[in-house]
């Protein structure tokens, strides 16, 4: 049996990597991927706790998270493509019209 703390630690590490990716990269697609990483880290934590508590609810939540992720990716990519058509770039620091 794998100790819970390992799993949670792993999930924490992956999550952090995702955060760093979001903060460091300027390519919208890569940022998106990093967000996926974070989601998966959360999923890992869910599954870990589920197996620790011997209950399926955690896994069901992971299922929902996956669905949401799918929808989110579809929309997000569509937006990125549209943005590229308009602005010829996917670099988020070249798109800052929304400043106060």
């Amino acid at each position: 049996m794998i100790p819970l703390s390992w799993l949670i630690g792993l999930s924490a590490i992956v999550f952090t990597i995702g955060v760093v990716g979001v903060l460091v990269r300027r390519n919208a697609l890569v940022i998106f991927m990093s967000i996926e990483l974070m989601l998966n880290a959360a999923n890992l934590a869910f599954v870990a706790f589920a197996s620790e508590m011997k209950s399926l609810d955690g896994q069901v939540f992971v299922f929902f998270v996956m669905t949401v992720a799918a929808a989110e990716v579809a929309i997000g990519l569509a937006i990125i493509v549209h943005l590229f058509r308009l602005r010829e770039t996917v670099f988020v620091d070249e798109i800052h019209l929304l400043k106060g």
């Binding site: 794998i2 990716g21 508590m53 011997k54 929808a71 590229f84």
Partner: protein, 187 residues
């Protein structure tokens, strides 16, 4: 046996996700992300969540990442150019914040959790947990399930609306960028 496999998968996961963040070529990042997802699926299998493991591969590796690759190829992105002071500064900040977050995570880890098993034995542990998950999904989580389906429908409509742009037909709004993208590897 289990811990060994786990460590292997975990190492793979960490390395690949690091590569996702670090590699300059979006395609390569995407491929590493696929790998990361596969190793995560492996970990799910180790945790006796066979259904999730498979769904992880089908959904993430099989659908989402293919979509990513599509877009990357369609936009025909090459290596990202990330040079200059600004990038360096943001990189520093990013890693710093990441380290901070990891520390807080460690602080959390030290606390330990007060949670006991909800059931004596994992439901559906013997003949695979697909049936068990299905039972839970369609009884206690039926309403969220339905809502999710609606969410997917909305996403579909939204994607179509965004993709076809303001004026009616998608081909009308093909900017020069799109043509270049469609022209594929000629660049």
């Amino acid at each position: 046996m289990l811990p060994v496999l786990f460590v292997a998968f975990a190492a793979l996961l960490v390395v690949t996700s690091l590569m996702v963040v670090l590699h300059k070529n979006p395609v390569t990042s995407a491929l590493f992300l696929v790998l990361a997802f596969c190793s995560l699926a492996g970990i799910y299998l180790l945790l006796r969540a066979e259904f999730l493991g498979m769904v992880q591969i089908v959904v993430y590796a099989g659908a989402i990442m293919v979509l990513f690759l599509f877009v990357i190829m369609y936009l025909n992105l090459q290596h990202d150019v990330e040079t200059g002071l600004q990038i360096a500064v943001r990189r520093g900040i990013g890693w710093f914040v990441g380290a901070l977050m990891l520390l807080t995570g460690a602080a959390l880890l030290k606390r330990g959790w007060a949670l006991g098993p909800a059931n004596e034995v994992m439901p559906g542990a013997e003949q695979g947990n697909v049936a068990a998950i299905g039972r839970v999904l369609y009884s206690r989580y039926l309403f969220p399930f339905e809502i999710t389906s609606i969410l997917l429908l909305v996403a579909m409509v939204g994607v179509i609306m965004i993709a076809r742009g303001r004026t009616g037909h998608p081909s009308v709004r093909m900017g020069p960028a799109a043509e270049r993208g469609a022209a594929g590897g000629s660049a």
